[in-house]
Each structure stands twice: as C-alpha cells, then as structure tokens.
C-alpha cells in the first residue's frame, strides 16, 4: 500500500480537462498571458484522448450570410431548440463568435470539408433552419482536438500533465487556491497550487448505462464543484441522442440524417413524418427521441437484447458514394461492432444518453462566482442550450467559450498579483483523502453500485419521466450514496490502480445522480429534453426559469434563476 509522496507544483493557472474547451482555454490563456503566466493543463487520461474526439457531425457557424443564413436565424434556431430556456443574450454573443472561432481553426490547419469552389462546405443538422454544420468528414471533434493540441504545442509556457486523477479543489472563503490530484502511473499525490483554475471536465457522462459517452466521462469536475458548494444549474436536462447503436450505445452521427438518412419503425414507416411534419428526421433531438420511444412503447419497434428495443436507421437514400466519402467512420462502426454494413443494411438504433445541458452556473466569460475559478464547455452552463441542445452547437460552444474562459482568467491574473498560500493542513488533507479511499469501510463493491446506478437512471430518469419513477429513483440513489461510503476496494497498489479510480468516479456519479433526479422531480412541467408524462405541457408561468441546486451541509438546496429573454418571446414549438 501507498507511501504518499506529495509533490507540490506552483502555477498561475491550472486547466483541468483537455477536451476542446480545455485546449482552447489553454491556448487563449497563453496568448493573452504573453509568456508571463505559468500554465498547466492536466487530464485524467493522456491529453490527446479526451471524449471530445468522439464528436462526429459538425460545428455550427454562420458562414454564408450572402446565401441566406444570419446570426438571428442561428440564434432563433438555438433558442427555439432550447424550448426557450436558453439565455438569449448569451446565445446572441455565441452565434456572432462562432464564425470567428471556426475560421481560426481553419487557419490552424483543420481539414474542413470543401465545396466545389474550394470554400468551406456545411451540412444540415437537426433543428437548424440552414445547413450550417461545418464538418471534417464524420470525425469533426477528433480533427478539432488534434488541431488545437498541435496549436497548443507552439506555446512554451504550458506544462502538460497526463493521467492525473483530480479529486478535490482547495477553496476557502469563496477563493480558489489549488487542485488536488494523484498521478495515475505512480500513485503519487500532487498539489497544484494555483491562483486560478478552469474546470473543463465535461458532462455527467456515465451516469447512464446506455450512453454514447466514453467511460472516461464521470463528471469529476462537476461533482467536486457540487461538494464545494458551487451552484449547479439545470442538471435535470440530459440529452438523449436519437441514434445510439444497439446494444453498445455508440454514437451514430446526426450527420447521417443530415445527409439524407431516415428512421423507420418495424412496419417500415418513416414515422417522423407524423411527429414533425416539416423537419421530419431533422427535428431537434428531444423530439426525435420521444417519437422513437413512443413508437417503441406502442409496439412498433424491434425486440432488442436486455430490453434495448430499437428502430432502424436507413442509409439507402444517401447513396453509396456519399456514405463512403462523408460517413466512412460510421460505416466502419457498423461493420465492426454489429457486423452490418450501412451500404447494404440499416443500423439498429435507440436514444442514448449523450449530453448534459446543465452544469456549473457561469457567466459568458466562464466565471463561476468563486474568486479564481472558471468553467468552460460541457461542465459549464451559461446557458446557450437551455433544456435541449441543437446538434453541432456543442463543439462550437467549447471552442467559443473555452477561448472566453482562457482569455478572461488570463486577464484577471495579469491585472492583480493576489497570491494564494498552502498550509500544513492542506498536505495532510490531501494525504488523508487518499488514505481514506484505500481503507476498508464495508462490504460494498464499487462496480456493483455503479451497475445499480446505471439500471436506475436508464429506467427512472430516461426520455419519459414521472413522479412515481423519479421518487423511486431518488430513494434508490440516496441508498447508493449511503452505500458508496461503505465500500472496500479490492486492489491496494499504487501503480495504475483502476479500482481506486473506479471507486472515486462512482462516488462522483451517485452524488450527481441525486441532483439530476431531484431537479427533475421538482420541475413539474415538460420542456425540451425533460418530459414528464404527468405534466406533459410546458408551463412558462411557473417554470420559465433555471433550476439552481447547491449542496449545503450535505443537503440539496433548491432555488431558481430567471431566464434572460431579449427579442424572442416563448411560443409553441412546432417543427
């Protein structure tokens, strides 16, 4: 068992997470800091392997105003898609910034797809009234990550730390002082003392069993923020992507439908014609996911393994050449994971947990309200997505607001010389935290708890929700939280100890699950991704507001925050 070597690092800025938001933040902080700031970027895995690489379809940006697209149109689509829960001032800022930041990526070398005339090509995406998803085949996020990573390497003052498990932040008197982590290959404890940090750890991820998220995403940054009293906003809104590949849940990009693919039920019907007569298969994700589950629940689906009943995604209208050129990865996934070639056969799909609309309550520059602490990307909630995000707005969000958080934190660091200090107690705290995690505290197995959590969330907090299921789910999750304190981890070694990591991740997930279900139970209306069968209508009189949940003395404290409306009045959402 461990001898806890504590190594202390000293930085101006620590960025936690190396996805699109974290990488973009690091570049901007280095640029604005002009070599005067000591910056570290740390991540749980090797830095160039964040979950952002899995983003497939595209990044939204208004590039062709002369052809009919406009900022107002992108903003309206986003706000209508959000079911009017997005803050409209933030959305207006976002849509104006997207083209600037998307073209910047081009100048850093990303292989954006082209039109015949050599200019950037864009593809249609769900809920957008203009084809404005800028893309690089069906691996947009992957190319974006690598472009940003390469660009980051140009800056000498960014230190890179791979495979660091972050387990707490030092925050006192509403002021951030440092990040606590351990080095996964050695088990060595590390304190990253810092004047500022940016949380860019992504969404809730593996809260669900059937999901497009990679196993890496366990909401670590969100859970630490929750425990440290930060405000969690709108966490009950979880996006279910219509086309998760049965049985694994692997993402099949919306780009398939953008390029002409069609969803069909077991009777062969193009059922989306019924639910969204004008947008059909390119309606927003919440609407398609609900329509799919209605088809399945009414018996027009196919029987799948472990209750994963499914529908079919038909590629035939796209054409073989286009599939080979623009959807080559999807094709490979089909062939490899289910033995079906989309050139010859449709793929089995079902709504899969995909994205966290909510997050840490932040401003448009990513500020959390805690001195020295910012957040960006999926971990934050500004909110530009409200209760339902449109496809291709998230990678753009990461780039746009990663840049904002990086720039704003760097400016703040340059404008003051406020120092932070560590105390002897910090070191003892950091050591005891891990020593305690190794201790035998009961006969619960962390993997069992995680499996039960998945079962509960997949059943009680999925596409359709109601009071009875949510109440039952909350009870189960609270039981799991209790059990999560009474576990024994089987492996006691220091080096690459996945049992230790799995147990800490599991604790993060169960605590976040409580917030998701609690928020869902309190929101007695249906809006965007959150659909209550017992309250099937949107209720603007009572719920046109953001849910804010804070953990105070171990209890969840609920409050609300108004939505900022500028020029778009809430109206019925018809597609």
């Amino acid at each position: 068992m461990a001898i806890y070597l504590v190594e202390i690092f000293d930085y101006d800025l620590v960025i936690v997470g190396s996805g699109l938001a974290g990488l973009r933040a690091a570049i901007e902080a280095a640029k604005v800091g002009k070599g005067k700031l000591r910056i570290a970027i740390i991540a749980k895995n090797q830095l160039m392997r964040p979950h952002s690489i899995s983003a497939e379809g595209g990044s939204a940006a208004v590039l062709y105003m002369d052809e009919g697209d406009s900022f107002d149109l992108h903003a309206y689509d986003t706000i209508k898609g959000s079911d009017y829960l997005a803050d409209q001032d933030a959305v207006e800022f976002f849509v104006r910034q997207c083209p600037v930041d998307i073209l910047e990526l081009e100048h850093w070398g990303i292989p954006w797809a082209r039109r015949e005339d050599g200019r950037i090509a864009q593809r249609p995406f769900g809920g957008h009234s203009y084809p404005r998803a800028t893309f690089a085949a069906d691996r947009t996020g992957f190319y974006e990550v690598h472009t940003l990573y390469d660009t980051m390497l140009k800056y000498g003052n960014i230190d890179k730390f791979h495979e660091q498990f972050v387990y707490d932040f030092l925050i006192d008197n509403n002021t951030f002082r440092g990040v606590l982590a351990f080095d996964i290959p050695t088990g060595e404890i590390r304190i990253f003392k810092a004047r500022a940090a940016i949380i860019a750890t992504g969404g809730l991820g593996r809260l669900y069993g059937y999901t497009t998220y990679s196993h890496l995403v366990t909401g670590d940054g969100l859970a630490i923020a929750l425990r440290r009293g930060l405000r969690m906003k709108d966490l009950e809104f979880v996006q279910f992507h219509p086309t998760g590949l049965v049985p694994s849940g692997i993402l099949i990009t919306e780009g398939v439908r953008g390029d002409g693919g069609i969803l069909r039920n077991a009777k062969g019907e193009r059922f989306m014609e019924k639910y969204a007569p004008s947008k059909k298969d390119l309606a927003p994700r919440d609407i398609i996911s609900r329509s799919m589950m209605t088809e399945i629940l009414e018996g027009r689906g196919y029987k799948g393994p472990d209750g994963l009943d499914y529908l079919l995604l038909d590629f035939s209208p796209i054409g073989d050449e286009k599939i080979k050129e623009k959807l080559s990865q999807v094709r490979e996934i089909g062939i490899h994971y289910v033995g079906l070639d989309p050139l010859k056969s449709p793929l089995p799909v079902r709504p899969s947990a995909h994205y966290t609309m909510g997050g840490i309550d932040i401003t448009t520059t990513g500020y959390t309200g805690v001195t020295g602490l910012w957040a960006a990307g999926e971990a934050g909630c500004i909110s530009i997505h409200g209760s339902n995000r449109l496809g291709s707005n998230s990678t753009s969000e990461c780039v746009v607001f990663g840049k904002q958080a990086g720039g704003d934190s760097a400016k703040w660091l340059l404008s003051n010389d406020k120092q932070v200090n560590l105390s002897e107690g910090d070191r003892a705290y950091a050591e005891n935290f891990i020593a305690d995690a190794y201790k035998d505290k009961g006969d619960n197995d962390p993997y069992d708890i995680k499996r039960e959590l998945w079962k509960t969330m997949d059943r009680d907090a999925y596409v359709f929700r109601n009071e009875k299921d949510l109440t039952e789910g909350l009870k189960i999750v609270r039981g799991l939280i209790e059990r999560s304190g009474k576990i024994t981890i089987a492996e006691k070694g220091n080096v690459y100890n996945q049992n230790l990591i799995a147990s800490l991740e599991m604790k993060n997930l169960v605590e976040l699950a409580e917030v998701v279900i609690y928020g869902a139970l309190q929101r007695k209306e249906s809006r965007g991704s959150h659909f209550r069968t017992d309250f099937p209508k949107r209720d603007d009189d009572n719920y046109l507001k953001h849910t804010i949940i804070q953990k105070v003395g171990g209890e969840l404290k609920l409050s609300y925050k108004p939505v900022t409306l500028t020029k778009w009045k809430p109206e019925a959402r018809v597609y």
Binding site: R49, H51, E106, P111, G118, H215
Partner: protein
C-alpha cells in the same frame, strides 16, 4: 456457458524482475473483444490487473497491446476472430513497462513537439480556397489516433537505437507537408533529425494501422523522396531556393 481461455502478461516492475504469463478463464459473450475479457478479469478475477482503456470504440487509441505478439487495439480485437488459437495478451514491447499491459509511451510527446508546426503561407486571400481532393490528401494522415501500434511493430525502433522517430511521426510530418497551404519544407528535418533514412520500408507499420492509413506508400515513401530531392537533386534545389526567395513554397 462457453468460456474463453486467455493468457495475460503480468509484471509490476517495482517488485518483480521478471514477468510471467497467467492463464485466465472468462465467460464468452457474443461480439466479445479482448478488452472485454481484460475488464472482466480486472473486475471479477484479479483486481490488480492494470490496463489503459477509455472509449471502447476504436477512436481514442488508449488500449494498444500485443495480441499473440501482433500489435493490436484490444477494443477492436474480437475474440471469435482467433478461433482455434490460444490468445496471449502482452504489453507493447517497444516501450518501458509501467505495469502489466500499461506502457510508458510518453517519449512520443517529445518527438511530436519537435516536428515543425503547421505554418500557412503568408498573404493568403481569405476565405481560404482549398479543393476537397487536397483536403483528403492531408486528412488521411490526420486520421492517426496515436495508438503507437506502428511504432511498436517497427523493427528499427525495437532493435536499433538509431534515433529514427518512427512511422507515426513521419505520418505527422506528411499531414503537415501535404496541407496545400503549408509553407514549410520538413524534409531536411525528417532526414537529419528524425532519422527517416533508417526506415527500410518493410511496410509492417501499414499492416497494423487500425485506421488503415497507407503509412509506407503514402507517407514514408513520399517523405523519403522529398528528402532525397531536397538533398541531392541539384535542379530541385535551385527551383526550391528561388521559390523560397519569392516567399512561396
């Protein structure tokens, strides 16, 4: 229930001088991949088994190992494709061992950092115009997921301390050199600093690439040709020098 017999290399360098192969039996499942078997062992048989993994979808490049001594991604290696053969799993042999199946591949981070970065030509009119064909050419190399299987299989890296950066890094250079608007010529760097001349084009790297990048034919050979032209072809040298003088490539 049908079970799978699988042999896994185990060693903690902190306490064990020699490694050993340990046999495990895991329940077979439809569509099972080698990574599933490793995770089963870690969860249900021996929690001390260390492995690096993440997306389970062949995209992140974390779970590289050798399966029957062939460099492979564990998440893509279906156990039913080894019918009849015994399956043996061991760490990448070209890299220092951290524990069991986890190796230290960090030397690659330093090599990647040394390759001259994307540098667009000056004074380009905006928006940039590039044809799709040109995009595809550099995109093939940008597909690389940095799993380092090509590095592992390369006998120059395994057997000779030559200073050759390895196939992944030639692919990186090619991805930049073949960007239609890039202004640099990396051939001298690749030849002098990255030891490209040591590659004797056995094509092993191409065979193991999970992204099916034509590493040898499309990256290494063209990069070698550029290097040779740059160094030895007097006419090419004059043309290049004059072009450079005009601020173009």
């Amino acid at each position: 229930m049908e079970t799978l017999k699988i042999s896994v290399y185990r060693r903690d360098p902190a306490t064990e001088g020699e490694g050993k192969y340990v046999d495990y039996e895991v329940p077979m499942e439809e569509g099972m991949v080698v990574l599933d078997a490793m995770k089963y062992i870690e969860k249900h048989i021996d929690p001390s088994l260390s492995l690096r993994w993440n997306c389970m979808a062949g995209k992140c490049g974390s779970c590289s190992a050798e399966i029957n001594h062939r460099p492979s991604l564990m998440c893509k290696a279906r156990v039913d494709s080894y019918k009849g053969q015994k399956i043996t799993v061991s760490p990448l042999a070209a890299y220092p061992l951290i524990k069991d199946l986890v190796t230290d591949v960090s030397q690659n981070w330093d090599l990647l950092k040394r390759i001259p970065k994307f540098t667009p030509k000056e004074g380009l009119e905006k928006p940039w115009k590039i044809s799709q064909v040109d995009i595809e050419r550099s995109k093939e190399f940008k597909k690389c997921i940095e799993c380092f299987l090509c590095q592992d299989v390369c006998h120059v890296i395994r057997e000779h301390n030559s200073g050759y950066f390895g196939p992944r890094h030639v692919v990186k250079a090619a991805s930049l050199d073949m960007h239609p608007l890039d202004a640099l010529d990396r051939s001298t760097f690749m030849n002098k600093d990255a030891g490209l001349g040591y590659c004797n084009i056995t094509k092993c790297c191409t065979e193991v690439c999970p992204e099916e990048i034509h590493i040898t034919d499309n990256a290494i050979i063209p990069e070698k040709e550029r290097a040779v032209n740059a160094q030895y072809d007097p006419i090419a040298m004059i043309v290049r020098a004059r072009r450079k003088g005009r601020g173009n490539k």
